[in-house]
């Protein structure tokens, strides 16, 4: 037998996959793939697939492919892959079993192939039986001109408790969102408050004292503290203008000193 596993023709036979995948399928004179060929060969043996000799089948397949390649070289790769596999299986079946653990035994491989063939054959028969059923529009017919039946829809409303509660919560939330908002007046120390504080404390301060000592203590909030500083400065300027106190600063950005008005 000429070796069908000669690598060179395989490369010739290899075609890149194309969009038209049917082309690979119907290549071999109407056969649909290597399993189809094997099944047909098995059928010619006229024995039950359960008793089929895979060895004989392999021989027939290899011969069949070899012949097919005489006719045309561009045999679809599927068929050649199967040929290679069968040649390999055949050699394993004929040679004494090698000690190999990484691979199923030759008998198991042969049985797997036989099982595949049985499975395909079963589906083929099933397809036949399916098509033998009377089909609607071919063998049997439904009424040609049905009058039709008016359909009434009874609506049944459904909602979960969760949806109900969410709806309630949502509308409450919506109302809050829709409510008008107003800007909260910021907390500040007013200039009036600062002036009152300075007036109250100044009589007890005859000598120069830093202005910041008149800040109210324990304000905490830095924003409030800043407003107190601003107000006390403005208040001190106002009181100086009125002649109630004197101010002095020894250097730019230096501390500001204050004392009760003393006639020079």
């Amino acid at each position: 037998m000429t070796s069908p596993v000669d690598p060179t023709p395989f490369e010739e036979a290899w075609e890149p996959p194309s969009d038209d995948s049917e082309r690979f399928v119907v290549d071999l004179a109407g056969f649909e793939g290597p399993l189809d060929v094997l099944l047909e060969l098995a059928r010619r043996q006229k024995v039950d697939l359960k008793q089929i000799s895979i060895l004989a089948l392999a021989d027939q397949y290899l011969a069949f492919i070899a012949e097919a390649r005489h006719v045309r070289l561009d045999i679809a790769a599927d068929y050649l892959v199967m040929a290679a596999w069968l040649a390999y299986l055949k050699s394993r079946l004929l040679l004494p079993p090698a000690e190999r653990e990484d691979e199923p035994s030759a008998e198991a491989m042969a049985e797997a192939l036989a099982a595949r063939l049985r499975q395909l054959e079963a589906m083929r028969e099933a397809a036949g039986r399916l098509m033998a059923l009377p089909q609607l529009g071919r063998e049997v017919f439904a009424r040609g001109a049905p009058e039709g039946v008016p359909i009434e829809r009874a609506v049944r409303f459904e909602a979960s408790l969760f949806e109900l509660l969410s709806a309630y919560a949502e509308q409450k939330r919506k109302r809050e969102a829709h409510a008008s908002l107003r800007i909260r007046p910021p907390k500040v120390i007013t200039i009036e408050e600062a002036m009152m504080r300075l007036r109250r404390l100044l009589p007890e301060v005859p000598e120069w004292e830093t202005l910041w000592r008149f800040l109210p203590g324990g304000l905490g909030d830095p924003a409030l503290e800043r407003s107190a500083m601003a107000s006390i400065l403005v208040a001190s300027l106002e009181l100086a203008r009125q002649g109630s106190l004197q101010l002095r600063q020894l250097a730019p950005f230096g501390p500001i000193y204050v004392r009760r008005w003393v006639n020079p």
């Binding site: 609506v155 409303f157 909602a159 109900l164 709806a167 008008s180 800007i183």
Partner: protein, 208 residues
């Protein structure tokens, strides 16, 4: 089976499957010579005389038709499940929590007008019912939830509705977080109710 019965079966099937009424000539063409179409048709018409379907001749053509006395009974009921609209659910929730409550009161709470369709839908669903009138000008109807409401939502009693505190605890009622410089002003109530976009909740549902 007799020859006659066999012919009858074929013509029966033919008339049944035909998309249009068939005239005698068409039927005769399916019968062997010597068998009269008229005889077969008459026999078939007799077979079907008492049934729910009759074989009738109209304008010289033959066809099966449902018996005229049954026609009014021919309809199918199909149950369609549908979700109530958002507006309907909100209205239902307000009735559940504030009952008994008038429509005007529901509108006050929702801040939008409540369409008649919304209340109709809730009535149809069997979740609310009217119960008496408020002693006020116009004697407005008071709405309460029905037995059907408790059943549908799996509540033993109205007390089983979670309270507002529970809703808050479950996170359902979390208000909007306002910045500290802003505060909500309590509404005096009669802000003009914006016209409800969802005044036809049922329609909306169908569109969806």
């Amino acid at each position: 089976m007799t020859e006659t019965a066999r012919h009858r079966r074929v013509i029966e099937a033919l008339l049944f499957a035909a998309p249009e009424p068939l005239d005698e000539a068409a039927i005769q063409s399916r019968l062997p010579e010597g068998v009269g179409a008229r005889d077969v048709l008459d026999a078939l018409a007799r077979d079907y005389a008492e049934r729910g379907v009759n074989l009738v001749e109209v304008a010289g053509k033959w066809q099966f038709r449902t018996a005229p006395d049954i026609a009014p009974l021919l309809r199918l009921e199909i149950e369609v499940r549908r979700k109530p609209s958002r507006a309907a659910l909100e209205t239902l929730a307000i009735i559940a929590y504030h009952q008994p409550v008038t429509r005007a009161e529901i509108e006050d709470i929702r801040g939008v007008s409540v369409s008649k369709g919304t209340l109709d839908l809730l009535l149809e669903a069997g979740w609310i019912r009217p119960r008496g009138h408020r002693e006020a000008p116009g004697k407005p109807v008071l709405w309460v939830t029905s037995e059907g409401f408790l059943e549908h939502f799996g509540l033993g009693a109205l007390d089983d509705l979670p309270g507002v505190a529970e809703l808050k605890a479950s996170g359902l009622l979390e208000g909007l977080a306002l910045p500290p410089s802003l505060e909500a002003v309590a509404e005096d109530g009669d802000d003009e109710p914006e016209d409800e976009q969802d005044s036809e909740p049922v329609r909306r549902d169908e569109a969806g």
